[in-house]
């Protein structure tokens, strides 16, 4: 089976499970997990395929969430439009900061992206007039299409899995293309990529911005779904969570990161007694993944290649 087919089947399963699950708490949990899936999928393009680490993705999620909320609260913009604008602004922002940042490699890149995430976090915390500071931003309107309002968990659940489907489709198209193959070449053999005409730096910037776009859009949806955001949802631990999800799910495996993200994003809500210790669990997971399954969960599955 091709990886894309497997992944679409999985998404369909999740989508239709929405008819069976009665408990709004679980629906809510899986919806939030699905939003995380979008972020992780974007990060996987950057980290898994192009091999460039980012420890600041929570910052891009925050940008998407805050900018879209502020646009719709303060400027009375349509929620959909404000999500779109904030995502595009984040894309441009990531492109501008990515240009100098992505000249760095390895640990230095990790530190620089970490700083980006932290700076955005600090702004969210301290621009009290705009963001409400650490108390958060309330009164974000609900999403609606005409008279249809996404006012309960189930409606949003179906909608968010459609969005996941859309981003999965984008990811597969990007990965299984000339562009995607160049990304893999950059990941493994940067010199070879350079020598055969890949403008390595530009490609890194493009994929960095695109993954920031994924993150910002998920952030925007998150804000309008919950109606309330505060900086604590976008701290450094969140960024690290995303990276752990990519690693455990499987570097360069879209299927793996989808399933692992749903599991890892839901577990802390189920194993509530572990909630305070979750960073430790995450660290352990990362170590176990690095030792026993260096290619992540996705590495165990042999998919048929999509090729000519």
């Amino acid at each position: 089976m091709k990886e894309s087919t497997g992944t679409y089947v999985l998404i369909a399963l999740f989508f239709f499970s929405g008819f069976l699950i009665k408990n709004p708490f679980i629906l809510n949990m899986i919806s939030i997990a699905a939003l995380t899936v979008i972020v992780v999928m974007g990060l996987n393009l950057l980290l898994g395929y192009a091999g460039q680490v980012s420890l600041g993705h929570a910052g891009f999620v925050a940008l998407g969430a805050y900018v879209s909320s502020i646009l719709s609260i303060k400027f009375n913009l349509n929620p959909w439009l404000s999500i779109l604008i904030s995502s595009l602004l984040t894309f441009v922002f990531a492109m501008i900061i990515g240009f100098p940042t992505l000249k760095l490699k390895g640990h230095y890149l990790a530190m620089a992206t970490l700083a980006i995430g932290e700076i955005i976090y600090i702004f969210a915390n301290n621009l009290v007039d705009l963001t409400g500071g650490h108390q958060g931003l309330t009164g974000i309107p609900m999403l609606s299409v005409g008279n249809f309002v996404f006012d309960n968990e189930r409606k949003f659940f179906f909608f968010v899995w459609l969005v996941v489907l859309f981003f999965t489709f984008l990811s597969f198209r990007i990965v299984n293309s000339h562009f995607g193959r160049a990304l893999r070449a950059i990941h493994e053999k940067e010199l070879a990529a350079l020598s055969f005409g890949v403008d390595v730096h530009l490609y890194k910037v493009v994929i960095f911005s695109l993954s920031a776009f994924y993150a910002a859009l998920a952030g925007g949806l998150y804000a309008f779904y919950l109606g309330f955001i505060s900086p604590s949802s976008f701290d450094l631990l969140k960024s690290i969570n995303y990276v752990v999800m990519v690693f455990v799910g499987g570097i360069d495996s879209i299927f793996g990161s989808l399933i692992i993200t749903v599991v890892l994003a839901s577990l802390p809500n189920i194993l509530t007694f572990l909630q305070d210790y979750w960073p430790i669990v995450n660290g352990l997971l990362l170590v176990v993944a690095a030792i026993f399954m260096p290619k992540g969960l996705g590495g165990f599955i042999r998919w048929k290649r999509e090729i000519f």
Partner: protein
């Protein structure tokens, strides 16, 4: 028949800290020539290669390709000019199939960005790319490995895949960095034949090599480097008997 030069290296110099890795080396490669660059370990051959391919910036001197100054181009633009290379340490991408690895050689011929990828606007071009890949792999007799991954093929084949990747863009100048390193005798012989067949297509070749026998068998002209300097240049038979070359290789 006198032919023009395809590559001129003019007093190229590069130092790392206090060490002059390449020290004022000049030579040219004529069109349709197989030129070899030899020398003991640490002679600066690979550094010179990296200068030519733009991975290092020379401190002084010039490299001209068909009269164009290469230093004004970025490394990723060279393949468009008609220069391609192989690597001493195999640089194949393990997560791509052999076919896709060879297709990477034609990267710059296809428009490539996320928009094109999402809407599949370059399907036709990509098809042409893979047709060319098939052609070049038939030429080098590696078509049976096309759908495998690089870690599933023998070492000698990996070298040929590297050459295929360099050839698929139909370059004017092919740079081979120690193509015979690590190959057994049969593989070396097959490689030698392949190099001649490439040369028959009218491609000029500059190669770095350790193996003197291999070099004398295949090249028209040899440049010998030692400690960053060019110490001899000429026909294989001349160079082999040059006392400076013997000294560099054997000691006093």
């Amino acid at each position: 028949m006198e032919k023009g030069n395809i590559l001129d290296i003019d007093r190229a110099t590069k130092s790392f800290g206090g060490i002059k890795a390449v020290d004022g080396v000049s030579f040219s490669v004529k069109k349709g020539q197989i030129k070899a660059l030899v020398g003991p370990n640490g002679a600066g051959k690979t550094t010179l290669f990296n200068i030519i391919t733009g991975l290092y910036r020379a401190d002084s001197g010039d490299v001209l390709f068909e009269g164009k100054k290469l230093f004004s181009y970025k490394p990723h633009e060279l393949v468009k000019l008609g220069i391609s290379r192989t690597f001493q340490n195999i640089q194949l991408v393990d997560t791509l199939t052999v076919k896709e690895n060879i297709a990477l050689g034609l990267h710059s011929k296809v428009k490539s960005n996320p928009i094109y990828a999402i809407f599949r606007l370059n399907r036709k071009q990509e098809k042409e790319v893979f047709e060319k890949v098939n052609k070049v792999s038939k030429f080098l007799k590696i078509e049976e490995y096309l759908n495998k991954f690089p870690n599933q093929v023998p070492f000698g084949i990996k070298r040929l895949i590297e050459i295929a990747r360099a050839l698929v863009s139909e370059p004017d100048l092919l740079l081979l960095d120690e193509p015979a390193a690590g190959l057994n005798e049969d593989e070396t012989e097959f490689l030698l034949k392949s190099i001649f067949r490439v040369w028959e297509q009218g491609i000029s070749i500059l190669l770095i090599e350790h193996d003197m026998e291999f070099v004398t068998n295949c090249s028209h002209s040899i440049v010998v480097m030692d400690s960053g300097k060019k110490i001899a240049e000429g026909l294989p038979s001349e160079v082999m008997n040059d006392y400076r070359v013997v000294k560099a290789y054997m000691g006093e």
